[in-house]
């Protein structure tokens, strides 16, 4: 599935982009827009996530297609005015202190010394590193390195922030702080593209998710939009009721129900084929029968479940 949902003005536009390295096709005809807000980029290893991020940040050129960032070709220096990158690796200029690193990074963006100093202090405070900024970067923990790298990406106040696994190695409290920071940046109208393999983080963080596998964009949109698109996606529903053994056979007569299992003492676990249709059928069923339903809950609405399903479909197409 190669879909596109644009809800805001696109800051980055990817048009029919393919990229191959020798015989290996890393991306295959990908088209997408990235607007303001937080966009999650999800896919297994080797899916093409890093290639897409490198294309967006102008490190490599597409073999076919075009990528524009704020109206400029992503490879151009003008586009890079608008891009902030937090790369995956830990590497940075380790011999510098955190404060020096921020000033150097600001200097590389062409700010005057006074402005570089001012921005360095502001960004150090933003990423919560102002109290440890005089230590050499080589003494930093992984979480501190992530923060300082994020500071490097933010120093010039970019419109498009590209973050490759930014929460990798950050403690839970730090994760929440950084997530709040990403949300506040998104609230300012910036586009934040977050690549992550920790899918449940995307559930809570991203406004929109891009699923990528084997170099193809499988789906994009909010999680709810993707679920709506996946009519055939089997959904697991847990029902608490007074007499599960009595209604289990009756539920099997519904067309949308694929299987029912009883989970003592009072629960049923249903696998349903078409969620929208199931909810309609179940409403009628519950109204017409004395089902005694206390609670109904879909158990696998997470990104993970959708992701697994999409991956399965991509790897084993019917």
């Amino acid at each position: 599935m190669n879909t596109k949902t644009t809800t805001t003005i696109a800051l980055a536009e990817v048009r029919n982009v393919s990229k191959w390295f020798g015989p290996v096709m890393a991306l295959n005809g990908v088209s997408l827009d990235i607007g303001s807000g937080i966009t999650g980029l999800v896919g297994p290893n080797g899916a093409g996530k890093t290639t897409l991020l490198r294309l967006l940040t102008g490190q490599i050129k597409p073999s076919l297609g075009e990528i524009d960032v704020c109206g400029h070709d992503a490879w151009s220096a003008k586009a890079k005015d608008h891009i902030g990158l937090c790369p995956f690796g830990d590497a940075t200029w380790d011999e510098l202190s955190g404060r020096q690193l921020m000033r150097v990074t600001a200097g590389l963006r062409g700010f005057t010394r006074a402005e570089a100093r001012r921005r360095a202090e502001a960004v150090l405070e933003t990423v919560g590193m102002d109290d440890r900024a005089n230590r050499p970067v080589r003494t930093y923990s992984k979480g501190m390195r992530q923060r300082i790298k994020l500071g490097q990406a933010l120093i010039h106040d970019p419109d498009l922030l590209v973050l490759d696994e930014p929460l990798n190695g950050v403690d839970p409290v730090g994760c929440e702080e950084l997530n709040d920071l990403f949300r506040s940046l998104a609230a300012q109208g910036k586009a934040v593209l977050v690549s992550s393999h920790i899918l449940h983080e995307m559930d809570q963080l991203a406004d929109r998710i891009l699923f990528i596998c084997q170099g193809k964009l499988l789906a994009s949109g909010s999680l709810a939009e993707i679920r709506d698109m996946l009519d055939e996606h089997p959904l697991k529903v847990r029902i608490s009721c007074g007499s599960p053994r009595r209604i289990a056979p009756q539920l099997l007569t519904l067309e949308s129900v694929k299987s029912v299992s009883i989970e003592p003492p009072s629960e049923l676990l249903l696998e349903v084929q078409n969620p929208g249709r199931f909810y309609a059928e179940f409403g009628e069923f519950a109204a017409g029968n004395d089902a005694g339903v206390h609670r109904l809950k879909a158990t696998d609405t997470s990104t993970e479940a959708v992701f697994d399903y999409l991956m399965e479909r991509a790897l084993h197409p019917e």
Partner: protein
């Protein structure tokens, strides 16, 4: 943070220059260079000191032909140049910090130019400083040799830095390639009779020295000179200048197009 502040490409390039200069100076290359120069200094001091079996005072011509030409021009100069230039870009690449330079808003050719300027300044300081020390250790006899060698050293350094930085932009393990080039091409090929030696920087440096260093009797005589077949000093200067400009232009072009992993 507001975005209204103006930025300057010149200021950004100056930052690349300062960063590259700092990183190259505080590096293993400086330690290796210092050790090699120290050894050369020791050899020169021992040679210059009158020994019981060789009590005659040393001359400028002897310093030039026995120390400066073979040891400094033939070995130390290319090694110093390659140690700094070949690691400038490939070092950032292998340490995975090149990405920060490639994703700035500085046009790539200017990033390359700023790094070239930093490496060239540092290398010139080391090569000319090293030459001056080697010439001054034996005393006054070195002044005449210094006057002949410093211009050739400067031009050869510019050419070598351009070549080895081009290697650095092109391949990940540029130091190995540069070392192989220095030892195989510059050292061996330059001594092959015919025209094949004209692909080396040291051929033109030597040709230049042979003409301008006549008072030092640097040029070989008789058949040896015929086999070497030097070009004129003016031609050597032109070739070195054109080669330096060519290496720089080629490096800027390559760096601006290459997709680094």
């Amino acid at each position: 943070m507001e975005t209204a502040n103006k930025t300057s490409t010149v200021a950004a390039c100056a930052q690349v220059f300062r960063l590259a200069l700092r990183r190259q100076f505080f590096s293993r290359q400086t330690i290796v260079t210092a050790v090699l120069l120290g050894l050369a200094l020791g050899i020169t001091a021992l040679w210059a000191y009158p020994m019981p079996w060789n009590p005659d005072p040393r001359t400028s011509a002897q310093l030039a032909s026995r120390i400066l030409s073979p040891l400094y021009m033939g070995f130390l100069l290319p090694i110093i140049c390659l140690s700094y230039a070949s690691s400038a870009i490939s070092g950032e690449r292998s340490e995975q910090t090149l990405v920060y330079l490639l994703t700035t808003n500085i046009p790539r050719p200017l990033v390359y130019l700023a790094m070239y300027a930093a490496v060239l300044l540092l290398t010139l300081a080391v090569t000319l400083g090293g030459l001056a020390v080697l010439c001054l250790v034996p005393g006054k006899i070195g002044l005449e040799a210094l006057g002949v060698f410093w211009t050739v050293t400067t031009c050869a350094t510019v050419a070598y830095v351009g070549l080895f930085l081009l290697f650095s932009a092109g391949v990940r393990r540029a130091t190995f390639l540069s070392l192989a080039y220095a030892l195989m091409i510059e050292t061996l090929t330059v001594n092959i009779p015919g025209v094949v030696n004209r692909i080396t920087v040291s051929f033109y440096a030597k040709s230049w020295l042979y003409e301008t260093g006549k008072p030092l009797d640097l040029a070989p005589t008789g058949a040896a000179l015929g086999l070497f077949n030097p070009v004129s000093a003016a031609s050597a200067q032109w070739v070195l200048v054109l080669a330096s400009v060519g290496f720089l232009a080629l490096g800027m072009w390559l760096f601006s197009r290459k997709e680094y992993d």
